[in-house]
């Protein structure tokens, strides 16, 4: 049988899914053990116990200086920034996307502008963002908004234009005006797409968040990573990366669930 036609069985699929993870853990374990026998204080590839200890300290012991539980205060700071940034970006993306997608008179000025703006790498204009929005929370949230909103808007514009023209004609023959058209025909379809696009943009949003926190901050997951990097504390950095990945995965999973719950038709009509 040709390779392209071979399907893994049910058990095989699990095995193949876990294989890379197991291999990675194995390789890491061997390399870490080798370095630790060489130098018990090695910080580059800490062992599991070192990482567990470091995390226990971050999560359950109050910090000597601030009296806060660092893991939780970092997580809260980052999630608030991320939530605000994504929320504002989603709203802006929806407004601009629908406006440009449905109304040709608005599309003419908006569409080219959004195309250009979405090409500007947000990190490259960071010094300007500082001056305009300051160094505080606002600039970190704005970095996420500027990075995510134009792409959401362009995607939603495209999806709005893909809605069959017949639907618009039909709605208009039934007496819909522009406003009801947007509300009853376009929005229900685009909201589902918005959730899908948000899921795809989560990775970028985290990237912008971590970058913003690396530059100037007093708390946050990215801040902590860049701070402890100063003394190569990989026993904190690696679990933080795992934690960020878990949070991102949970957000992705949550958005998917929300989409299924609100728009059961969106994934091929399954309920």
């Amino acid at each position: 049988m040709r390779f392209i036609n071979r399907q893994p069985g049910r058990g095989g699929r699990w095995l193949l899914a876990l294989l890379p993870l197991i291999l990675f853990a194995l390789v890491y374990g061997i390399a870490s053990a080798a370095r630790l026998t060489d130098n018990p204080d090695d910080k580059l590839l800490p062992g599991l116990t070192q990482m567990v200890n470091a995390m226990a300290r971050m999560a359950f012991e109050a910090d000597k200086r601030s009296g806060e539980y660092l893991l939780w205060s970092d997580t809260a700071a980052s999630l608030i920034r991320l939530g605000l940034g994504l929320g504002i970006a989603a709203l802006m993306g929806l407004v601009f996307g629908v406006a440009a997608g449905v109304f040709p008179l608005l599309r003419a000025p908006l569409s080219p502008m959004m195309t250009v703006v979405s090409m500007v790498p947000p990190l490259a204009v960071l010094p300007i963002l500082f001056i305009v929005f300051g160094l505080d929370e606002l600039s970190k949230v704005m970095l996420i908004v500027i990075g995510v909103a134009p792409i959401l808007a362009r995607d939603l514009e495209q999806r709005a234009r893909e809605i069959p023209q017949e639907l618009f004609v039909k709605a208009q023959t039934l007496g819909a005006n522009s406003w009801t058209l947007v509300l009853r025909v376009v929005l229900p379809q685009l909201l589902s797409r918005l959730l899908v696009s948000l899921r795809l943009m989560l990775g970028s949003a985290w990237l912008f968040l971590i970058s913003a926190e690396a530059i100037s901050a007093t708390a946050g997951l990215g801040y902590r990573i860049f701070l402890v990097r100063r003394y190569l504390a990989m026993d904190v950095i690696l679990p933080y990366v795992v934690w960020i990945t878990l949070l991102a995965w949970l957000m992705d999973w949550g958005l998917r669930g929300l989409n299924r719950w609100l728009f059961p038709w969106s994934e091929g009509g399954r309920t």
Binding site: I30, A31, A34, N39, N53, L126, I131, Y231
Partner: protein, 352 residues
């Protein structure tokens, strides 16, 4: 990907990761790294002019000098074993490689910061006391943080009186231009940019704590022990360049100025706030002085209070620091940072 291929790739990955654990052994080629800073520019000239390879050849070895762009990353790379030596400050040598269990030797004490690090406040005629209650932007846990602590101490304040905002060194100039930032701590060349803004006061700088922020060439102790030629060649090359600088050799200084992104007057201005040890005799005199252990004690204490010595550290004495003449600060069973004047003395006596 079929299974055999997958296996092959995994083995390659494993080999690559294992390659990270390098053992010291007699060898012929050595890698050292450095980053842009007034007191380290001589390494660039030493490499470009062929002085390094000349000295390496004399001892039958090869030395590659590499410039890295990110200071912390360069120390991390050295700590991970990618380089045999690297330029860093005394505090970073203690908190990164030494705290990471990499036994390191300060082969060359190049200079100390004498104004290259400073605390700047917005507004004319300010003093250290005006820091009270302010947000202070700086690279947290760096020598800037140490300088702030010393500055606050000089005015009877402590870190509780200010709020430290971690700001990367690459962005601190742009950050200082925004209206929220009222105070910042930075090192040159960024410091000179910040100071140059109108209506600012330099309230404290490293010239008030002479000798506390040292700029070193740090090498792996085991590598040095196995290969004295490496230490001799590096030290020889360094003091050949120092002699040129002392003699105000225009070609050498212009080269260093260009490489640090400024012109000759700009570089000379930075050198004014850098107390270079132009002669090996001066450097080894300082290294063997009673002053150095006292300074390192203070640096260890600060590092311990900030948690920079690692989890295992129960006190500021957790990591031993050895000095010429057998004196040891802290735990003598766990010496991870050594100040060694042997090679500087050989250079001073013309024995290299």
């Amino acid at each position: 990907m079929n299974l055999r291929r997958l296996f092959g790739v995994s083995v390659l990955g494993l080999a690559a990761l294992l390659g990270l654990s390098a053992h010291a052994a007699p060898k012929k080629t050595f890698d050292v790294c450095w980053t842009i800073y007034a007191g380290w520019m001589p390494w660039d000239y030493a490499q470009a002019s062929g002085i390094v390879s000349k000295w390496a050849k004399k001892y039958g070895i090869e030395i590659k000098v590499t410039q890295l762009n990110d200071y912390v990353e360069s120390i991390n790379q050295y700590t991970a074993g990618k380089f045999d030596g690297c330029t860093m400050t005394n505090m970073d040598a203690l908190t990164i490689p030494a705290a990471g269990g990499v036994d390191s030797t300060a082969l060359i004490v190049g200079d100390y910061s004498s104004g290259n690090d400073g605390i700047v406040l917005k507004g004319a005629g300010k003093t250290v006391k005006d820091l009270k209650g302010l947000d202070v932007n700086l690279v947290e846990l760096s020598v800037s943080h140490y300088l702030l602590a010393r500055g606050l101490q000089s005015a009877g304040l402590s870190e509780k009186d200010v709020k430290v905002v971690n700001t990367s060194d690459a962005d601190i100039v742009a950050a200082f231009a925004t209206s929220q930032v009222k105070a910042a701590v930075a090192w040159n060349p960024q410091l000179s940019e910040i100071k140059a803004a109108p209506g600012t006061s330099l309230v404290f700088d490293s010239s008030k704590i002479p000798g506390e922020i040292l700029d070193l060439m740090v090498v792996n102790t085991q590598t040095l022990k196995d290969n004295p030629a490496f230490g001799k060649a590096l030290t020889g090359a360094w003091y050949e360049v120092m002699a040129l600088m002392k003699a105000k050799n225009a070609a050498a200084l212009t080269h260093m100025a260009k490489a640090s992104g400024t012109d000759l007057p700009g570089y000379e201005a930075q050198l004014k706030t850098t107390a270079m040890y132009y002669t090996a005799a001066d450097a080894s005199k300082f290294t063997t002085s009673a002053e150095l252990p006292a300074i390192m004690k203070r640096v260890s204490q600060f590092s311990f209070e900030k948690g920079l010595l690692g989890d295992g550290a129960k006190s500021a004495d957790a990591i031993g620091v050895a000095f010429p003449g057998g004196k040891v600060n802290g735990n003598a069973k766990n010496v991870k940072l050594r100040f060694d004047a042997t090679y500087m003395q050989q250079a001073a006596e013309g024995k290299l």
